[in-house]
């Protein structure tokens, strides 16, 4: 594991609880301010313990939508200089700046937080016969695993992750999220279980345009990591959410699986259920289980995944973590608690609880449905 700064370790109180998730999309692509989701997270305060919170926003950089927006944490100026050298060497950097923040009393010792709008240099893509996305992924892995004190926590086009150690409302205020507008917003309040709370370890985890927030603890972590590493992903933070993000990138982007199949790879039906499916489905499910055995996420989890065209939410097969969905007009909401959805929209056309292993999927209308 990469050497991380120890000053952010462990909180002073532990309140038995579990992470809080909230996400929504406007299917018509209408933009809303980050103010709303930050405010709504406060009703799930008991689900976090102040050791991590974060947000993802889609559609926030319309003027730079053709560029990858890299958001980075640096522990010190040396890490920044070393990283900067690498970025300018491999990428065309059209803009770089400090991510605007405000002083918040409860947010202590933030790292240096910087963003770069970049494109891979053509010459490298041609030389190595590599796709733009793969090039970006390789660079992110290199920085995160090799440069001490540097961490890329957001690397997609027209998507931005904002996260840190604190409660969601404090992190929202710190990053001035009310100034950003997006068609999809995803939020997380963290109660870390297996790793100390650190800025990089807060959710969402992100790679390219995938962002993932997670409540739970997957027992398949070792299997999943070994599989992801065979494809060049480097898991640096020992956090299960990180590997979930990489597996999603692998299945959906690199293996080009349709979304419904990828979802079944992550949470396949139990064999007792498969046995009763009709023959075609049975063969299909057995094949998914056989081929993607190592992608199965076992143990309790609820995740919300954002991508450029939409959002999906998924529970483990036996639903060991809460997940609720709601709908109002063009908005689709998913959350750990119905109250968080009602904080965004008191009146709803429909509220439902998806079954374990059955995803809620919602995509932008004009861009078509991925499934």
């Amino acid at each position: 594991m990469r050497d991380i700064n120890i000053k952010y370790l462990e909180g002073e109180v532990r309140i038995p609880s579990a992470c809080g998730l909230l996400g929504y999309i406007n299917r018509k692509g209408e933009l809303t301010s980050g103010y709303h989701i930050v405010d709504a997270m406060s009703v799930m305060r008991e689900r976090g313990n102040g050791l991590g919170a974060g947000f993802a926003c889609y559609g926030l950089y319309p003027d730079r939508e053709d560029y990858y927006a890299f958001h980075l944490f640096f522990e010190d100026i040396n890490a920044k200089e070393e990283t900067s050298y690498l970025l300018y060497r491999y990428l065309d950097v059209v803009q770089e700046e400090k991510i605007p923040t405000r002083k918040v009393r409860t947010i202590k010792d933030p790292p240096i937080i910087w963003r770069y709008f970049v494109k891979p240099k053509e010459e490298y893509l041609e030389d190595e016969d590599i796709t733009e996305e793969d090039f970006i992924v390789r660079l992110v892995m290199k920085i995160n695993s090799e440069i001490k004190g540097a961490y890329v926590f957001s690397s997609g086009k027209n998507v931005g992750v904002f996260k840190g150690v604190g409660y969601p409302e404090d992190i929202g205020e710190f990053y001035r999220l009310e100034e950003y507008y997006g068609y999809t917003w995803i939020a997380h309040s963290r109660f870390p279980t297996n790793t100390p709370g650190w800025w990089g370890g807060a959710h969402p985890f992100s790679l390219l345009d995938w962002t993932v927030v997670h409540n739970g603890e997957i027992s398949s972590y070792g299997t999943n990591v070994r599989y992801a590493e065979m494809f060049g992903y480097k898991c640096t933070l020992m956090t299960d959410t990180e590997v979930i993000t990489y597996i999603i990138d692998l299945l959906l982007r690199r293996h080009r699986l349709p979304l419904d199949i990828a979802i079944k790879a992550l949470a396949p039906p139990l064999y007792s259920v498969i046995d009763r499916l009709d023959e075609e489905e049975r063969i299909k499910m057995k094949a998914i289980r056989a081929i993607y055995q190592s992608c199965l996420l076992n143990g309790p989890f609820a995740i919300i995944v954002g991508f450029k065209d939409g959002i999906f939410a998924l529970n483990d097969r036996i639903k060991l973590r809460p997940l609720v969905a709601g709908e109002k007009g063009d908005f689709v909401y998913v959350a750990s608690e119905e109250s968080a959805i009602r904080a965004l929209s008191p009146e709803l056309d429909r509220v439902w609880m998806p079954r374990g292993g059955e995803a809620v999927v919602s995509t932008l209308e004009e861009r078509g449905v991925l499934v």
Partner: protein
């Protein structure tokens, strides 16, 4: 909105659960018969641990997790949906929910009754138990998720599946069950059942139990009792009181 000093209306808007629950307790101790709580959204532990058998709480909105947990006596009416862990380890009293509920309703429940007009989530009534006249009861108007009555040791669960949207229960219904009775209006396919339970016909005694509780369900939600009992009921009972008694014996 005060009426004869017996009804008090309070607003939960923006209140943390600790503030709200302190306020509720204070108002109950002042002697009010009935409290109407407006704008509830996500506040946890409402009614938890309280012993005010003759009082009524009316909740408007979406109460948070563990509504009525460890409650000893109180009537709670929810005009909306409840979240997870409703009636967790409840000892007595009554909770009436006009919407649906999340997972884990009546976890380890030991007494009192819960009436749900809509559906309930996963793991309803797991580890429920009974002792002599303390027999907890859960009545669900819609259907339930997986693991209904898992490891159930006592009590009664009645699933009405009124809107008949699919099967009355999810998978692994009654797994590890070794006491109590689950009644199902209509039936449930064999493959949904845990291997510790059997599906059987009901008898006169069961009809009396069903009527006792369905009369109240009908009254609370404005549905005729005749309609509720017009369909055939089946019951799920465990094969054995100690299914694992010999598991580690040899």
């Amino acid at each position: 909105m005060e009426k004869d000093g017996r009804l008090k209306t309070i607003s939960a808007k923006g209140l943390h659960y600790r503030q709200l629950n302190e306020e509720i307790r204070k108002v109950l101790e002042e002697g009010y018969q009935q409290i109407k709580i407006m704008d509830v959204n996500g506040q946890r532990y409402i009614g938890s641990g309280l012993t005010f058998s003759d009082r009524i709480l009316e909740i408007y909105g979406t109460p948070g997790n563990d509504l009525g947990a460890f409650m000893n006596g109180l009537t709670i009416r929810v005009f909306g949906n409840a979240q997870d862990g409703t009636a967790n380890t409840m000892n007595g009293g009554e909770i009436v929910i006009y919407g649906s509920t999340g997972d884990l309703v009546g976890y380890g429940m030991r007494g009192g009754r819960v009436f749900i007009r809509g559906s309930a989530g996963y793991r309803v009534g797991i580890h429920m138990k009974e002792y002599e006249d303390k027999i907890p009861v859960i009545v669900i108007g819609g259907n339930t998720g997986d693991f209904l009555g898992e490891y159930m040791a006592g009590g009664r669960i009645i699933v009405l599946n009124l809107e008949s949207q699919g099967d009355a229960t999810g998978y692994f219904c009654g797994t590890g069950m070794h006491g109590g009775i689950i009644y199902i209006r209509g039936t449930v396919p064999e493959h949904r059942l845990g291997k510790e339970v059997k599906l059987t016909d009901i008898n006169e005694e069961d009809i009396a139990i069903l009527k006792e509780h369905l009369i109240d369900f009908a009254r609370y939600f404005g549905i005729s009792l005749e309609y509720l009992i017009s369909e055939k009921f089946y019951k799920l009972v465990p094969y054995n009181k100690r299914p694992y008694g010999r598991l580690y014996a040899y």
